[in-house]
């Protein structure tokens, strides 16, 4: 009878909003562990703070085409629109990398152990879940003799009205312990369009092989956030190894890629 009472209180659960495949992909990349309270945090307050560029008056990098406004919208309302968005992101990321790090090349990085090898030289294929508002891309990058993994994700805060979202402050929430194996450098700021940002460099200081990661998270219009990261690690899962002590791109270059992508996205 007690169970019945509890079940009456629960009622009929709404559709599941737990994106297990997305969680797995993020965890595979070893980044979610460093996202501090990423699922339950502060409210995203856009409040018109994001400037909507007037066609032809963008201050960001010039578009490749001569069209007055070649920016694009992040549409994930259908599987088809999400496909288009994912392809466009891949193209824009390729352009961003060439602008920020001329001569940098892509190389194939497996998603999982045993994945069939794919050709080098391709920008990441962004993965999405149809109508799910999450898109992720990850690939190997080689620049000036250094190699590593470049990862990009765009995700929505899970709620539309409640005060939850990404934890933007550098200061950890009470009760969250800093991982002593990593040395952290974190800075809060604003993007060129006015969105909140958090940049982090984390260096593994434990006994295992050295890893370094530069990361930036940028608040986008429509309650989304963009995350760009670079590490010096190559491989997947247990086979991940540092290619060299330094990552192929600097924190400044990662930030520049984020600014480029932010400038290409319409609200």
């Amino acid at each position: 009878m007690s169970h019945q009472l509890f079940d009456e209180l629960i009622g009929t659960p709404p559709p599941v909003r737990v994106d297990v495949p997305g969680i797995v992909r993020r965890e595979r990349r070893g980044r979610a562990a460093r996202r501090l309270g990423g699922s339950l945090a502060a409210v995203l307050v856009l409040a018109g703070g994001v400037a909507v560029a007037v066609p032809g008056q963008q201050s960001g990098p010039p578009p490749v085409a001569a069209a007055p406004d070649t920016r694009f919208r992040l549409l994930f309302d259908t599987s088809e629109s999400a496909d288009v968005t994912a392809r466009r992101l891949s193209q824009e990321l390729d352009r961003a990398l060439q602008e920020v790090a001329p001569g940098a090349t892509w190389f194939w990085m497996p998603e999982y152990v045993g994945e069939e090898r794919k050709p080098d030289g391709q920008p990441p294929t962004f993965i999405h879940n149809g109508t799910t508002d999450l898109v992720v891309g990850n690939s190997g990058v080689s620049y000036q003799g250094r190699r590593g993994a470049l990862g990009i994700s765009i995700s929505a805060d899970l709620r539309s009205q409640d005060d939850a979202g990404f934890h933007w402050p550098c200061r950890l929430p009470p009760g969250i312990q800093e991982d002593s194996r990593y040395r952290w450098v974190c800075a809060e700021g604003r993007s060129p369009s006015g969105g909140r940002t958090k940049t982090q460099t984390q260096t593994y200081t434990g006994r295992r092989q050295l890893s370094v990661q530069h990361l930036i998270i940028v608040e986008l219009p429509d309650k989304r956030r963009l995350e760009v990261s670079i590490t010096n690690m190559v491989g997947v899962d247990e086979s991940v190894v540092p290619a060299q002590p330094e990552s192929p791109l600097s924190q400044e270059q990662v930030t520049a890629i984020a600014w480029y992508l932010e400038g290409r996205v319409k609200s």
Binding site: M1, S2, H3, L5, F6, D7, E8, L9, I10, G11, P13, P14, V16, R17, V18, D19, V20, I23, V24, R26, E27, R28, A32, A33, G37, S39, L40, A41, A42, V43, Y112, V113, G114, L158, R159, Q161, D162, D163, A164, P173, P174, G175, I176, D237, E238
Partner: protein, 163 residues
């Protein structure tokens, strides 16, 4: 994680998703937060899947992760802020003497401190023993007994003889 482990993980999560969501909802009484807590728990389980998969009782391990996730979230500062709600909050002191319906149970759960609420859900919805509940929450069996006393007293009448 190897592919076989990942398949094992995915099957484990899929089989328990409904149970986790239900228990998370009882803890927070908000489906958004419940799904957030479950999401964080799934990520933590994935991260430590080798350890989880070797646990004597994987269900209990997972439930412990989920419950502690929720308790951790409760300690975060934004929970002290005003939060929008579709429902008008219950008036203070409106906890019924006896719990005979869902509204009474909802009021009772809301009236309890987070850990007390967790004790109630673990003991009387998920049927964990006093000792199991104590291990999950990292408290003594005596504390479990004392913290469940109020809820038990309220529920006892509704389900007389069950406990």
């Amino acid at each position: 994680m190897r592919r076989a482990d990942e398949e094992d993980f995915n099957a484990f999560v899929a089989e328990r998703m409904d149970r986790w969501r239900r228990s998370a909802y009882l803890l927070c009484q908000d489906w958004h937060t419940a799904d957030d807590v479950v999401s964080v728990s799934v990520a933590k389980l994935y991260r430590s899947w080798r350890k989880v998969s070797r646990a004597d009782n994987r269900d209990a391990y997972a439930q412990r992760v989920l419950t502690r996730c929720w308790l951790d979230e409760r300690r975060r500062p934004w929970h002290n802020r005003e939060q929008p709600s579709a429902a008008v909050p219950e008036a203070a002191g409106a906890v019924p003497e006896t719990v005979t319906d869902r509204d009474g149970l909802a009021t009772l759960l809301r009236s309890l401190a987070p850990r007390q609420r967790a004790v109630l859900v673990l003991r009387f919805y998920l049927d964990y023993s006093v000792e199991e509940t104590a291990r999950m929450l990292g408290i003594s069996a005596g504390t479990v007994k004392s913290q469940s006393a109020r809820g038990l007293a309220n529920l006892r009448t509704a389900v007389s003889g069950h406990f």
